[in-house]
């Protein structure tokens, strides 16, 4: 327990290394006594922060909250005005960079890789600290992916020969502005984002403060995450996973949007492998379209500009198909239906 105490003390003082953080997470995950001790001490730390919140923090909360309140007159108007404010209640950012055009379905390789790839990816992230390890990890992943493709690839939706990007990495960080970090599974490890770096399944992307980051898949599907004031976060998850009920693999890109606004241009996906996006309240199935998804703690809003998207409310599994120039909202107390929406996404 001495080692655990040292790790926890480091965690509370913010002095823990990435390796130490991982060690702490594993101990908390696997040892009930350590978990109880963690909760007790972290709870104490939280209570102290709450008790001693300085005056400047109080004043800042007041200022930020009042500046985010929906306008009083518009408050009485339609629900879409309210939702638009919740999705982005801060000053506008410069217009988004030019979007990648959609491509023909025939040119779209399925972003599919066997589930075993994740174990390799996860292991590499744990020890990753500098660029030399990156190179070694990339080489290992390359050979793992090649071997898995050789053994199982024919049972998957056939990727284009030679298009190894579809197998080795899920996507690439195409461009970024603001404070952007790459997140890894199992620990609160954040690595500085670099333009052009590959992103594996179970990697996350986080923006702190205002900013934007574009993630591009091999089939030219582009996701642009935008944070207008506080934070935005998404996770790339399971490019393909073994389907327990059958002998085949399930397919399709999977993304979880935790918080923020996501402008998506999705290339035509195979019918059997729709792209799935999930928020805390809803899930979307996309075969190819252009849309904006906004997620906050209590609400999800989907605006579709091209094509159609099936939106499902997680609470009761009710669905609605949102067509071009329509939007829908998933939020407690709001009926799940489509509303007329704009033809183009408003600039953020």
């Amino acid at each position: 327990m001495e080692r655990f105490d040292a790790l926890l003390a480091g965690h509370l003082e913010g002095t823990l290394t990435a390796a130490g953080q991982w060690e702490l997470v594993e101990l908390v995950r696997n040892d009930p006594a350590a978990r109880r001790r963690f909760v007790a001490l972290v709870e104490m730390d939280g209570l102290l922060w709450g008790h001693f919140a300085p005056q400047r923090v109080r004043a800042e909360l007041l200022r930020r909250t009042v500046s985010c309140l929906p306008d009083a007159q518009r408050q009485a108007q339609t629900v879409e005005h309210v939702m638009a404010r919740i999705a982005g209640c801060t000053p506008a950012l410069p217009p988004a960079a030019a979007r990648v055009e959609t491509v023909d379905a025939a040119r779209s390789p399925a972003a599919a890789a066997p589930a075993g790839l994740h174990a390799g990816v996860r292991g590499a992230w744990r020890i990753m600290g500098d660029s030399r390890v990156w190179v070694a990890a990339a080489a290992v992943l390359f050979f793992m992916a090649a071997a898995l493709y050789h053994n199982f690839g024919r049972s998957l939706i056939e990727p284009h020969k030679g298009d190894l990007a579809a197998l080795v990495g899920v996507a690439t960080l195409e461009r970024q502005a603001g404070q952007v970090a790459i997140l890894t599974e199992y620990m609160d490890l954040k690595l500085p984002a670099r333009t052009g770096q590959p992103l594996a399944g179970r990697n996350g992307v986080e923006i702190t403060g205002s900013g934007r980051v574009a993630v591009a898949y091999a089939d030219k599907t582009t996701l642009e995450l935008v944070s207008t004031d506080r934070r935005a976060r998404l996770w790339l998850c399971h490019p393909a996973g073994y389907h327990p009920a059958g002998k085949t693999y399930s397919f399709g890109k999977r993304v979880t949007l935790e918080l923020g606004i996501l402008d998506a241009t999705v290339s035509k996906q195979a019918d059997a492998a729709p792209m799935t996006l999930t928020t805390a309240q809803a899930s979307l199935q996309v075969l190819g379209t252009r849309f904006r998804l906004a997620a906050s703690d209590g609400c999800t809003r989907l605006d579709v500009y091209e094509g159609r998207v099936k939106l499902t409310r997680l609470a009761d599994q009710q669905s609605v198909v949102v067509g071009a120039q329509q939007f829908a909202i998933v939020r407690a107390g709001v009926e799940l239906k489509t509303f007329p929406g704009p033809a183009q996404p408003p600039a953020l």
Partner: protein
């Protein structure tokens, strides 16, 4: 934005009526009035000040948006706290399904307390007990806690101020947290007996 003096003495129901009538500035008084109490309750579930402030803001914005559903015959704070706790419960539900696929395991462990105490009563009891325990701290230890949490000094800054090594400070803070926790548990036990 400060709440004008004219709002400070209004009861909750009157304030809510003024906001519904279009006086948005009156909402600042609600924030001023209840932020400390709600912060103390939410702090029980987070260990980062930034996280607490983010959820506080979200709760106040949500409460404003839903103000039409507030029953002015009832006190405002329990309704506000309910909204804040609903936000935490939604996050907990999300973490229950995504934590294996993200870096959120430690956040999940902290929020899991809500499963046993969905009303968040424990949070306020402990915050009140902490208040009493801090009053009993020796002056030197109280100053250290004050510098760490109220002035937000880093270990390095604390070390320079107290002329002590960072390692020794870490141990002192560790023991102080333990002592405060023991005191809180004792306070709660006494309250229960009474």
């Amino acid at each position: 934005m400060d709440a004008p003096e004219s709002f400070a003495n209004l009861p909750d129901a009157e304030l809510a009526a003024r906001i519904r009538g279009g006086e948005q500035a009156a909402y600042a008084e609600f924030i001023r009035r209840y932020q400390d109490r709600l912060r103390a309750a939410l702090s029980f579930y987070y260990s980062s000040q930034a996280e607490v402030e983010e959820h506080l803001q979200e709760a106040f914005v949500q409460a404003y948006v839903q103000l039409a559903s507030y029953d002015a015959a009832a006190p405002f704070y329990p309704w506000l706290k309910g909204i804040a706790l609903n936000g935490l419960k939604m996050e907990l539900r999300r973490l229950q399904t995504t934590r294996r696929c993200s870096a959120d395991y430690l956040r999940y462990v902290r929020l899991a307390k809500l499963e046993k105490d969905p009303e968040g009563a424990e949070a306020e009891e402990r915050a009140a007990a902490l208040h009493r325990c801090l009053e009993k701290l020796p002056q030197e230890e109280a100053a250290l806690i004050q510098a760490k949490y109220a002035e937000c000094l880093t270990l390095q800054e604390l070390s320079e101020r107290t002329q002590t090594t960072a390692g020794a400070l870490k141990v002192r803070l560790w023991r102080l947290r333990h002592a405060l926790r023991t005191c809180i548990l004792r306070q709660l036990a006494q309250t229960e007996r009474a």
